[in-house]
């Protein structure tokens, strides 16, 4: 299967139903009573050009590990970053992981601003926190660009990586399952009686370029569930209606929330839930998601919904149908029964 080399319109994206291996469309999959929950995180320009202050000047690409947290009444603003060697953005990230260790206090420039290292993660010298003495959100938006992908040919700008639902700037990489939707598709489903609800999940970095760091992903991530969404999910659950997650970030937020509180609960929390074949889903019956190749972490987490055999068959079928994979590629709908309620 080939990766999608460029963004394309929602209605040009194809969809496979994993259970029966047939090509389908969002318009025909869902009907009255279904509840689709979407992640309305807006995507940040999370790739930042950094430079050392000494001579000779060394340059790095710093990728946000997670969105900056607001510290009330603080005069210091921290960025949690993963460093890469700077290079041509079409060089694979795996080839850019050799960076020198920076000591505490070392300075790095981001445009006009200087930050200094206040924390280095013991697990990797590439994972560190930079502290600035001015708010970092304007800096990110002034100097950052969206995280780029080696297989995507055009340089991506923020318009390419915002989803239809974008609201709060919380996502380091786009909640890309939402690329399957445009306003027309949304309206068609709403007219048919499909219900929609939103939550915000701070989708973090998706790959580090090193296997031992990828194994840490996803890092614990912030999410927020509005009161109206908690009510909609509770009602749908009580009435035995389907609850469909648009993307893995929505599954993490909803299942993590219910695992913690026992029932859908509104508020702002952190989830460290990792989806796997062992996940006992209590809320989400189905998921719309991008197509990912075997042996990727994304493929593995689909086993929370479906057997390996079915997933491997679906992959072969997607290949035969000429589907494309990765962020801007085609989609899958995968569904499975909920775990028996304890």
């Amino acid at each position: 299967m080939n990766p999608a080399h460029a963004p394309k319109a929602a209605r040009a994206r194809r969809l496979l139903q994993v259970q029966d291996g047939r090509e389908t469309s969002i318009g025909t999959l869902f009907s009255r009573g279904d509840l689709i929950v979407v992640n309305d995180a807006r995507t940040l320009p999370a790739s930042l050009p950094l430079a050392s202050t000494g001579a000779p000047v060394e340059t790095f690409e710093g990728r946000l590990l997670r969105p900056p947290r607001i510290r009330a009444h603080s005069m210091a603003w921290d960025l949690e970053l993963l460093l890469f060697q700077s290079g041509d953005r079409q060089d694979p990230t795996e080839a850019r992981t050799q960076v020198p260790g920076l000591p505490m206090g070392a300075q790095l420039r981001l445009g006009h601003a200087r930050g200094h290292v206040v924390h280095v993660d013991p697990r990797s010298p590439r994972m560190l926190s930079l502290r600035f003495d001015e708010p970092v959100m304007p800096l990110i938006h002034r100097y950052g660009v969206p995280i780029q992908y080696a297989y995507v040919k055009p340089t991506l700008d923020l318009w390419d990586v915002q989803t239809l639902f974008a609201r709060a700037p919380w996502a380091v990489e786009a909640p890309s399952a939402a690329y399957l939707f445009d306003q027309g598709i949304l309206r068609t489903l709403q007219r048919r009686g499909v219900q929609f609800a939103t939550l915000t999940h701070a989708a973090g970095i998706s790959s580090t370029g090193e296997a031992h760091l990828d194994a840490l992903l996803p890092l614990p991530e912030d999410y927020e569930i509005p009161g109206a969404t908690a009510r909609s999910v509770r009602t749908a659950l009580a009435e035995g209606r389907r609850i469909i997650a648009l993307g893995t970030s929505v599954v993490r937020a909803l299942e993590g929330n219910v695992a913690t509180f026992g029932a859908p609960t509104a508020g702002r929390f952190v989830t460290d839930l990792r989806l796997s074949e062992h996940t006992q889903r209590a809320v989400v019956t189905g998921m719309l998601t991008g197509v990912h190749e075997q042996h990727t972490s994304h493929f593995e987490l689909l086993r929370a919904f479906s057997s390996s055999e079915l997933l491997v068959q679906a992959l072969a079928q997607s290949h035969a149908l000429g589907f494309t994979h990765h962020e801007f590629g085609d989609g899958w709908y995968v569904e499975g029964p909920l775990a028996a309620v304890a």
Partner: protein, 244 residues
């Protein structure tokens, strides 16, 4: 009837002077928070300082310097406004440009100057509305206000590009309104801040009328004012279709 909070989180383009600044002042004086956008950084700093004067625990006014006619300004400014305000309940498309001054006859206007007028007065509001409308509609509340002009309906010499941009912006507002079932038009009476009343008087009126309109879902028309017209497609799930 749904009780609406009077404290709003408002994004105002062209919010550093004139009507935009007056609305920002009014909003802040009633406890709402604002994010103002203007091109001139010094003017912005001055406006924010003026808005944040007074005995408050935390500032209610935020802002950033962007050119609303620049496509690449839109997502950054929305993100910064979201971050500063917590959420955006209302967008006021107030920024506009007349083009080169003194305003030349249409035939004498440079092609690039016409494009620049359309970029600020028409494409900016299109892009900004597109960037916020779906999430507003899904969350069930939000207002988008367009500030129009009588030049959108009448024809004057030298006002060609501006009039075209404002007429098109009215159409933009109507089209968004038709495409969002949650939206309805609230055509607000207005007054030309330059000739009819002070910006502060107009702002007070618009602000109060907006709060009123937000809970009523009625289409308002100007009873006596004929100059500027502000029109608001108003996103609210429970709103009725507007009637004149």
């Amino acid at each position: 009837m749904e009780v609406r909070m009077k404290k709003r989180r408002v994004l105002i383009t062209g919010g550093t002077k004139g009507l935009g600044f007056a609305i920002a002042k009014r909003a802040v004086s009633e406890g709402s928070s604002v994010f103002i956008v203007g091109r001139d950084e010094r003017r912005l700093a001055w406006s924010l300082e003026a808005l944040n004067q007074g005995p408050k625990h935390a500032p209610l006014a935020f802002g950033a310097s962007f050119d609303i006619g620049d496509k690449h300004a839109i997502h950054p400014l929305v993100a910064l406004a979201q971050e500063a305000l917590g959420d955006i309940d209302m967008v006021i498309h107030n920024a506009s440009t007349l083009g080169p001054l003194p305003m030349p006859l249409l035939s004498d206007l440079a092609c690039e100057a016409f494009e620049a007028v359309l970029a600020v007065n028409l494409l900016g509001p299109f892009r900004l509305t597109k960037a916020v409308a779906t999430s507003m509609a899904l969350r069930g509340s939000g207002d988008v206000l367009f500030v129009s002009s009588d030049a959108a309906v009448s024809h004057y010499t030298n006002w060609g590009a501006y009039g075209v941009s404002k007429a098109a912006q009215d159409k933009l507002m109507g089209s968004f309104s038709a495409e969002f079932p949650e939206m309805h038009e609230a055509a607000l009476p207005g007054a030309d801040p330059q000739t009819l009343a002070s910006p502060d008087a107009v702002a007070a009126w618009v602000w109060n009328e907006l709060l009123e309109a937000a809970s009523s879902g009625v289409r308002y028309t100007a009873p006596s004012m004929t100059h500027a017209q502000a029109q608001a497609p108003h996103v609210q799930t429970h709103a009725q279709t507007g009637a004149s």
